[in-house]
Subunit: 281 residues, 2 copies
Amino acid sequence: MTIKLETESSWASHGGTLSVHTHDSAVCNCSMRFAVYTPPQASIRKVPVLWYLSGLTCSWANVMEKSGLQAAAAKHGIMVVAPDTSPRGDTVADDDAYDLGQGAGFYLSATQAPWSAHFKMDKYITEELQSIVGSSFEADMSSQGITGHSMGGHGALTLHLKNPDLYQSVSAFSPITSPTQVPWGQKAFTHYLGDDQSNWQQYDALELIKLKASAATMLIDTGTSDQFLEEQLKPELFKTTCEQHKQALNYRMQPDYDHSYYFIASFIAEHIEHHANVLNA
Amino acid sequence: MTIKLETESSWASHGGTLSVHTHDSAVCNCSMRFAVYTPPQASIRKVPVLWYLSGLTCSWANVMEKSGLQAAAAKHGIMVVAPDTSPRGDTVADDDAYDLGQGAGFYLSATQAPWSAHFKMDKYITEELQSIVGSSFEADMSSQGITGHSMGGHGALTLHLKNPDLYQSVSAFSPITSPTQVPWGQKAFTHYLGDDQSNWQQYDALELIKLKASAATMLIDTGTSDQFLEEQLKPELFKTTCEQHKQALNYRMQPDYDHSYYFIASFIAEHIEHHANVLNA
């Protein structure tokens, strides 16, 4: 298959390049957009790849504009790919709520109409975008990590747990770790996957760890002043499950930080170092 | 005078705090908004202050959200204050163009109606905000630097040159250095200051250097792919004048960079280090 990749924008950034691309997606059956930060080291060798999955309402832009990740990615020679959070466009189903439809793909393959026509973000990221990034950028596809924020933290943990050989390192910011037990996940899964909750567990990090822990050490940061902490994030549930099932975990509660990109910006360098320690080894 | 300062927002950031404030301004005769990044060191001592003046259309938010300055400010123990780029509000004169009126204050005191009722950004920053920051934050007002971007680079250079003892260090990103000779400056100065060009020179960095060079070394970065380079920025004019008048200058043309915050983010750490070397000495 020949991939036709359009470059929408490109900026010099920390000695490397930030670029934004669109392409026709066979998996999502619509045009998709993603961003890549290519560090300076990629001009002389293929570099490891870190995937950053964003949260509800976000696109590639939030993390690339607001996290400051380019500084640490340039320092460690890590490429960062930021997919969109869902299919988008006039032909794609949507909902007025911020937590369903466009901008709220939840990194799963929807089985229920109208969502099933386009919403296949897990397959899109782990298969189609793998192929595109591997063929279009100076990416060492044998060396990949994955991280994300909130809904994207859920995505990072679940995609890692289901593909531990593909993503050898994993981390997350303020992740939804037990979506089947919290309102955001219950609403999304009902719409995307239907009422039969036995179909939900494959997209719940906590349930996946019960099946099989990964060999990676998970680095997670969540703020103690996160406005979604008690209702949606529930770190204690995840910590207990990891302990019971021998999942190596470094879950850090960061005093006074909230759910914003100011929080992510404060710790992104440590996350990229965490991934670099595995991927550059 | 008792200052009533409202805190609109506050976020934990890199071990310190980013906060946004409003207050009634006697100088601008309306409510004004500004942001402060307070580094962790301010919990034990007063810290030097770096002023960041933003460019056309910007507010406090662009630099605080997109430059990543907090990392370097926290490292060096520098407080950063980001004023707005003009008075704002329903009672404040405005223009449909992006380069005149609200968001385009040009860091001067307007003498022409309708602008003269509120547009006094130089006096606001060098007098009123000095007093507010000094009394409300753990700021060492004897140790201050100033920087900015584009129109804000013009502001930083001119306010430094007119107040070299107040701002002991200075730098700029893609600054307008000769506003009296370029379209942005000529348009703004005509509206704000009138047709008599003899009143314009006090707001032109190049003209101020001809009168008296400062003792500071100016650090300036501009991208070679800056879309405003030839028409509005004209680095050669400034470099020649600095050389002729013995103004110490480190003017760096950065290959491939443009006018965006991706450019600023790439070099903000070096600028903050430049200021810290003077202010922490």
